[in-house]
Amino acid sequence: MKIKENLDSYLKYVSNWEEKIGSFLEFDISRTKGMSTVEGQLAGIPFGVKDNFAVEGFNITCGSKILEGVSAPYTATSVAKLQAAGAVVVGKTNLDAFGMGSSTDNSAFKITNNPWDTNRVAGGSSGGSAAAVAAGIVPFALGSDTGGSVRQPASFCGVYGLKPTYGVVSRYGLTAYASSLDVVGVVARTVEMTKTVFDTMKGQDIKDNTSVSHPGSRNNGDVKKIAVLKIEDGSLSDDVAKSYLESRKLLEKLGYDIVEIELPSLEYVVPVYYTIATAEASANLARYNGLRYGYRSKNGNDPGEIMQTSRDEGFGDEVKLRILLGTYVLRSGFQDQFYHKAQKIRTAIRNEFDKIFELADLIMMPVFPTAAFKHGSKDLDPFQQKVADRYTCAANLTGLPALAIPSSIENGLPVGVQFTAPAFEEDRLFNIAKVLEKDFPSPLAPGTKNWSII
């Protein structure tokens, strides 16, 4: 591990912070060191991987009791590519079980706290990854983004969170939650690191038949005109609204052509998202039944019963809720009014975004209506947390790339802003992020430091 300072001080630092925030489910800097090349663009750089990715040498629990103790027999393509470039997996980060949640409080194993305020969540579902990066433990970490699960926690923790174009990074090795929405995402301290990690991972993979090779930006990543979503009064907390307006003013000051837009389809994105996501999830999670690996219940006299009890005992409440919803919307008699309807509205949403991109290079939106909320759902109950996905899940429904950028600190908590680009235009996102990074780079939470990685 090529850390400039003393390796022992680093490990002490990690231990100290982990006690405060609990971002890792497993942490071991030397365990998979041998699987990384010694040379490469990311040589020696430690990184965390959300525990819904398969990494040989570590377990893959997906934050759920039903996969407790399951050792990964293979490595995800995205991770393998980073290892081939020299980066070293140092641990698996905490998450909402199976990627379902906006807080990471839905993990079966531990709570992850926000490094900025340990009474608050780190966001979800990739809260562990975001917290680990924000605490300076690793310069980047992988997450997964199905409805905002990389961007929202990144925003809550004051770091960068990238959701690439669907299909550009292989999903092979990422536990499926919603197959047509899931992407491998990057949480990182700097724009440069975000871009490097993304460039290393992208590319077609025959093991993922939905992956494509990246054609590159059509216009060199150039950004001139930005469409800014008009915010209705009361839809954002005061802190977030203030930060959002200031971001807009800054862009005007920097000389970008700003046009205010409305997205009427945002009214439907959340129900459409949850209909499609839970439907696909209900099928994707059917394989977890205690027979071939993972938790097998002692209750049950025949395999049918064992499957039922293992699933009931192994899955948490949020997961069960989504499986039931997803099963229901696919049931004969209901599929038309729910699942098929949602897929058609999905097309309408994509059409609306495509139209905006005819007259602008990027769309600016908030990430989440509030900054990091407190543990225990007092601020936002699970239902309200879902409704709050409206700004992030549109990018998953449309397959478009989006990046969450730290924009300011309000009352001691980081607030972010989100940019969405047309398909394959990640370079435009990096472009705008670099410009804004000069004005406001990722802030260090009190007591944290960046370690100098060689």
Partner: protein, 490 residues
């Protein structure tokens, strides 16, 4: 035996769902070996074990073979084929959904020309041909069930017919002829005992003109014979139930060979709602024009067509043609031999009778197929040529054939090394003939008086004396000469 009551009162509707296991190197969605009979759970990987994070990757050979069958069945090929998830739980299912096809299979609305017992053909409509993956295997032992996932993820092609078959016998014939066709195409070995061809049958009866009745599904039909028996049983059962005023319960029934009955399966998947939806992990497949054209060109001549061509082109009879085309390997063998001497118009008939007689007898004993044996088309042609040129007799030829199989040597070498072509010349044969006729004056007289059949006695004696090497035609000629001239008069 047909129940005359059934014939008059009710119409029978039988539809079949046939699954064939496709021959490919690897499984349909992962790179595991696709082979039968390995140690349990040795041909498995995270993908076909349904591990978290895995994805299916479509095998191009499975797609190709699927289109070959769809074309051979005269299907309309969908412009876009879509994979779907069929959702249900069972211990042998790695993902608890099966990747299959539903709304847009590879082929739809085809037909199969079924040859009926009376020689006529009827078109049996094919509803669809679709590709899917197989599940693992379960063995029940005592209080446990043992799971082996070697078979999970192997490519299956399902062919669904419309309910156009009307008797158990027809269904049996369909399965036999269909099996022959897919073996010809080389897409499967169609082995029902090993499970590479499986068949479920749906049957219903109803008063004429009233359309389909309530159907029952029959499973556990492990041979075409069982299909016939089970359906005949079911049709009788349906008839009895309806005649007594009751209603048929729509259910799945298992055939039990030992009791020769079907019985209701305990409802394991009572009214399962499969919740089909398009597979998000696999893009739709749009078959390209060139791809389809290449497949069409590579399609082998189907058995029925080949049989008729043999009759027309080679002048052999229906029975011979049926035998020769029963397996593609035999038909190929036959044509290769015949092509070895295209001028000889009598050759096809000779080859046909040798193959169906002498050769098949040896193959039956050894249990081999002709393509595995030591007999090559060239070797058979060589034997037949030696006989034609009178180098050896037919009897010797038969012996040589057996030796080719046993010793795996060329017939010319065998004949040379054993001196089998050194049969006695004419004067030698005449001397033997004379001795035997002279030794049996009474028989010779009887023959002169008209008891022609008795010449067989002399034939046998002469053959014995020449160790079978003498040409029977020559012996006959010389015998007649000798007998006609009468006893030596001194």
């Amino acid at each position: 035996m047909k129940n005359s009551k059934t014939k008059a009162k009710y119409q029978t509707f039988i539809g079949l769902e046939v699954h064939i296991h496709l021959i490919t190197e690897s499984k349909v969605f992962c790179g595991c070996r696709n082979v039968f009979g390995s140690e349990p759970n040795t041909n498995v990987c995270p993908v076909c074990m349904g591990y978290p994070g895995v994805l299916p990757s479509l095998n191009e050979e499975a797609v190709k073979k699927a289109y070959q069958v769809a074309m051979a069945l005269n299907c309309h090929l969908n412009e876009k084929a879509v994979f779907e998830r069929k959702n249900y739980f069972y211990p042998d299912m790695p993902k608890n959904y099966q990747i299959s096809q539903f709304e847009f299979p590879f082929g739809v609305d085809g037909y199969f020309d079924l040859e009926l017992a009376d020689g006529s053909t009827r078109k049996i409509r094919i509803h669809d041909v679709h590709l899917e993956e197989d599940a693992g295997k379960m063995i029940h032992e005592g209080s446990q069930s043992k799971l082996d996932y070697n078979r999970a993820g192997t490519p299956l092609l399902e062919i669904v017919t419309e309910p156009d078959l009307v008797t158990g016998e027809e269904a049996e014939a369909f399965v036999q002829q269909f099996r022959q066709m897919v073996r010809y195409l080389g897409v499967t070995d169609g082995n029902m005992e090993e499970g590479s061809l499986r068949c479920d049958a749906n049957v219903s009866i109803n008063e004429f003109g009233k359309g389909l009745g309530t159907k029952t599904e029959c499973k556990n039909l492990n041979s075409s014979r069982f299909i016939k028996k089970a359906l005949e049983y079911e049709i009788k059962r349906h008839t009895k139930v309806i005649n007594s005023g009751d209603k048929i319960i729509q259910e799945t029934r298992l055939w039990d060979e030992s009791s020769s009955k079907t019985s209701s399966m305990r409802t394991k998947e009572s009214s399962n709602d499969y919740r089909y939806f398009p597979e998000p992990d696999l893009p739709p497949y749009w078959p390209e024009t060139k791809f389809l054209a290449d497949i069409k060109e590579s399609l082998v001549e189907l058995p029925g067509i080949r049989k008729n061509r043999f009759i027309d082109e080679y002048g052999i009879n229906q029975q011979q043609a049926l035998f020769l085309t029963s397996e593609k390997s035999m038909a190929d063998f036959f044509e290769t031999v015949v092509e070895g001497d295209i001028e000889d118009k009598s050759l096809p008939g000779t080859v046909a009778s040798w193959l169906s007689g002498n050769v098949q007898k040896i193959l039956n004993n050894s249990g081999q197929g002709i393509e595995e044996s030591s007999l090559s088309p060239r070797r058979l042609l060589s034997i037949l040529n030696m006989i034609k040129k009178d180098k050896i007799s037919t009897g010797i030829g038969k012996k040589v054939l057996g030796l080719v199989f046993e010793a795996d040597k060329d017939p010319e070498d065998i004949v040379k090394n054993m001196g089998l072509d050194e049969g006695p010349d004419e004067s030698e044969i005449f001397r033997i003939v004379s001795d035997i006729v002279d030794a049996n004056p009474k028989v010779a007289e009887a023959i002169r008086d008209g008891a022609d059949k008795q010449i067989g006695f002399f034939m046998g004696q002469v053959m014995k004396a020449t160790s079978g090497k003498a040409n029977p035609g020559k012996i006959q000629k010389l015998l007649r000469e000798k007998i006609l001239t009468g006893p030596e008069k001194n």
